[in-house]
Symmetry: C2
Subunit: 166 residues, 2 copies
């Protein structure tokens, strides 16, 4: 839902004056795409105030989520516990861009193995691994080499998947 890759690149550019392309991050774990000497600081970006609060929402995401929310019981399950500051920021971010979602639909967790459902859309294969329902891998630079799960490249494709009769 949020463009975390873009946010990392923005912070990296601001801090180091180096403009990396999204393609530079392809096929690498997010941190390992940055020069080794910079990785510790890049990781620390994620603990800064506003890092999560100011992320850009992905194209078509708001519109497709609003549509999904009318037809399905939607939950937003976010790995937020690694970054305790992110808890209130993610909550505020969701309320800003998705006012049609109720807080009852939010789940902030450490491991996603605790949740179950009919479908899970996630960009991290390890979050999908233990899931009981249909697994959809949302494309991100760091997961382009994974073949295990049905791939979804955009929120437009999410829409096509769930509303094929359009």
């Amino acid at each position: 839902m949020a463009d975390a890759t873009g946010q990392l690149l923005t912070y990296y550019h601001r801090e180091f004056g180096i403009e990396l392309s999204r393609e530079h991050l392809n096929h690498k774990d997010e941190l390992q795409a940055f020069p080794e000497a910079h990785q510790k600081l890049v990781y620390e970006f994620t603990f800064r105030t506003d890092f999560f609060r100011t992320m850009v929402v992905k194209e078509d995401c708001v519109r497709v989520m609003e549509r999904l929310n009318k037809e399905f019981e939607v939950f937003i399950v976010s790995s937020a516990m690694e970054f305790p500051n992110s808890l209130s920021e993610k909550f505020a971010w969701l309320q800003e861009y998705f006012p049609f979602l109720h807080w009852k639909q939010f789940v902030f967790c450490g491991r996603k193995s605790i949740v179950h459902g009919d479908y899970m859309i996630d960009d991290l294969p390890h979050n999908l691994d233990g899931f009981n329902g249909e697994k959809l891998l949302f494309s991100a630079p760091h997961n382009l080499h994974f073949q295990n799960y049905r791939r979804i490249n955009s929120w437009k494709e999410v829409e096509n998947y769930f509303f094929p009769a359009d």
Copy 2:
């Protein structure tokens, strides 16, 4: 895990100068145990800074949780979303009293219907209703009239349930 009832009574006493007993709350929804004219303010206690952070941990809870954590895959699933301030406070509270738990084991959610597992211990019957595994109702003044689920009255009883061979 936290003595929410005690915290409400403490705040109520401090604010209104009235000392209610725990027994006064028996068989009533938490808010409805307070005089109607005070209910709105009592509800607002839960939005105050430190309301969740300063709760007393229940007797035997730390010891039994530590023991459970060695034998089972334990998750702490907390309805935290109604009170966004509580997110960081609950996180800090858990880290203070349960340093042996990892943040990967924390889940803050709105509705607990999204989680699954082998056992759920909860004081709210509606949280247990949709659960797939074994359901254990932890006694609280507000649930004493519910008969639907196996009742657990203390953390000592939790210990006896999971370690019957002691």
